[in-house]
Amino acid sequence: MELLPQALMDGILLGGIYITIAIAFSLTYGVMHIIDFAVGEWIMFGAFAGFYLNKWTGLDPFLLLPVVFVIFGLIGCLIQPVIHRVLSGSKGNPLLMGLVFTFGLGLMFQGLAMTVFGFYSNSTPSMFSEGSFFFEKFGFSLTISTVRLAGLIYALAITMALHYLLKKTNFGLGVRALALNKDSAGLMGVNGKRTGALVYGLYVGVTAMTGVLIGCILSVSAGMGPQYTIFAFFVVVLAGMGYLAGVPWAALLLGMVQSIFLIYFDPGHTLLAVFAILYTILLISPKGLFGRGV
């Protein structure tokens, strides 16, 4: 029992990482209806960007987040028109086309990263990575790693920012209109192309920033992408595709399941449990936890 607060805390902190992996991804799906297989590779590139920028400038990776966001945001905006073309092609199954296209992109990115960055694992140092908070009261003890807490705060900040952007700005209104009905939104004066490019840029930028954080909390390597792609997919599907408000809860659930399993059950069964639970939830509620997915 004395481990329970720790288990919950660890689950929340782990969930925080998953929120950041998945939230922008979900937004993109909502607007563009693309399942981006390369999401993990954006994380990988972001992680390397953080690693090298930190090495060259000596600045803390947390301070570098805006720089990474701008760089990758631009890249995203530039790539989006190609993806748009794929999705609006004449073939009946654009979902699949987008999936295969980004799968190809992902392979390319992996090959590029291995050529440029080599095979070894790295780690990005940060001023937060050293410390931790420690509480002990009533026989309970709780450790909170500073860098993970910073990650969680970042995740919540991004969630709030996206929420604000979508609900309180004209741009957000356009995005929501576009997600609801592409054609009508166009008729109402929403510039679909530009909005789409901005949303995709936003997604790539946020995902790359997440990569920087993952580099601080976990590790950086050219082969790190696919494992995060899996978790991004799972969180987004669990939340309901494109249902943004579901993402934090789904991410926390995923983190919590892992944490509880690692601590209370056979740790070897953790991933089995994660996949089995995801599958079961989908069977019970085919449109995600809240039944609100598109």
């Binding site: 070894y120 050293e130 450790t143 590790s219 892992q258 944490s259 740790p267 991933l271």
Partner: protein, 414 residues
């Protein structure tokens, strides 16, 4: 009907063209097949192995070649990528044997690929030495044509535990974790057996999914306050492990991992946090070896590696170079020249079984029976520790370079 006839004919011609067999001309060099993981999940290790084989070939050729009865024969490496996949490994071996007609094979990095390649070399009776695969399972299968220069993990894993058990005060309790892949699992099991044998109480033993973030588990481990945490895993997992321990701020008296700590990436990524981590190895750049073949000692090999690749050598790379040396010695013994017959290859296996040589890597001597059949059992396993960013031999007591730093200094205030 005419069109389809044409189609058939063209298909046949294509097939014939595709398999034009080039006549095998007499050659004055050894064709050495190299089956390794150049791409895929295991490319990191595959490339380390490749460097080992490359360095051996470079050095042999720089000396004029392998001296067989007074005539020198160069060696030429032919690579085939196993793509980190057993079936590609089997195809790779078959291609090298049937298309390139290699004389012998230097084997894969991973145990899984080795297991799929071994039956193929068995079929064609081509001897193979792997410089890296170290799962105990390969050797219990008793493949006649497969050898290995790196001792299996259950042979090398006990040494660091014994070193730790001899310290004062010795660790009394341990938590042992292993990632769920062949190598890491076998490592964790070897650690566990050795710990129990050394009367260290194992509080927790878990095999965990590969790649999983272990922080919650380590939070639970912290509650047990073990003196020793031992972990079997690969490079990236080891880095994450140390970072997790630091993040939850738990410093055990000793933290033990396997050879991964000797990889340059471990120290590069972790900096001062890598210090005082223990590891198991059979070779380091400062191992005390002496040899008459190619490199006189470990230090000169390390220097040669620095010169050739600008990368420090680790024990996988060294073991891979030693695999080449073992072939070289066995070839000299039977006096075989390139383009060996089947009878010669069979006698090459016999010669390999009798190999008992001192190399820069240590003693190479393959077991000829028992659970280590054809694995190298000539080595002395070492306990190593990272001290000030350098890999230092701290055990066994009779050959150590420095005293083990123990207990471990807390993460904070390093």
């Amino acid at each position: 009907m005419k069109r389809s006839l044409l189609f058939t004919l063209s298909l046949i011609t294509t097939l014939m063209l595709a398999t034009t067999v080039f006549a095998e001309e007499a050659r004055n060099f050894f064709k050495v097949g190299v089956v390794i993981e150049l791409s895929g999940d295991l490319a990191t290790g595959g490339n380390v192995t490749k460097r080992g084989y490359d360095l051996w070939a470079q050095e042999v050729n720089a000396k004029g070649g392998i001296d067989i009865k007074g005539k020198k024969y160069q060696v030429k490496l032919f690579y085939a990528d196993a793509q980190s996949n057993p079936s590609s490994g089997a195809s790779a071996a078959e291609r090298l044997i049937t298309q390139e007609h290699v004389d012998f094979i230097l084997g894969p990095y991973s145990s899984g690929v080795t297991m799929a390649v071994a039956p193929v070399v068995e079929k064609y009776k081509i001897p193979m030495i792997t410089g890296s695969a170290e799962s105990p399972l390969i050797w219990t299968n008793k493949f006649v044509y497969t050898f290995g220069t790196v001792p299996p993990v259950n042979f090398s894993g006990a040494t660091p535990i014994n070193t730790l058990a001899s310290l004062n005060p010795a660790p009394k309790t341990a938590v042992i974790l292993g990632s769920n892949d062949t190598f890491s699992k076998a490592t964790a099991e070897a650690f566990k057996a050795a710990a129990e044998h050394a009367k260290i109480k194992v509080l927790k033993f878990n095999i965990v999914p590969a790649g999983q973030d272990l922080t919650p588990l380590l939070s639970a481990v912290r509650g047990l306050k073990p003196d020793l945490i031992a972990f079997g895993g690969h490079d990236e997992e080891l880095i994450k492990m140390v970072k997790s321990l630091r993040q939850i701020d738990y410093t055990p008296k000793a933290l033990l991992m396997h050879y991964g700590v000797t990889e340059p990436a471990f120290v590069n990524a972790l900096g001062k946090d890598a210090n005082q981590v223990f590891g198991a190895s059979v070779w380091t750049a400062n191992a005390k070896t002496s040899s008459k073949i190619l490199w006189p000692n470990a230090a000169s090999y390390a220097a040669a590696s620095m010169k050739a690749f600008n990368t420090p050598a680790d024990y996988t790379q060294a073991g891979s170079s030693a695999a080449g040396i073992a072939f070289q010695v066995a070839l000299q013994k039977i006096g075989a020249t390139p383009g060996m017959s089947e009878a010669q290859r069979t006698s090459l296996v016999k010669a390999l079984e009798q190999v008992d040589i001192d190399t820069f890597y240590g003693k190479v001597k393959f077991a000829t029976s028992g659970q280590y059949y054809h694995a190298n059992v000539g080595m002395t396993p070492l306990t190593v520790q990272i001290q000030d960013g350098k890999t230092v031999i701290v055990g066994p007591a009779n050959i150590k370079d420095a005293a083990p730093q123990y207990p471990m200094k807390a993460w904070k205030g390093r």
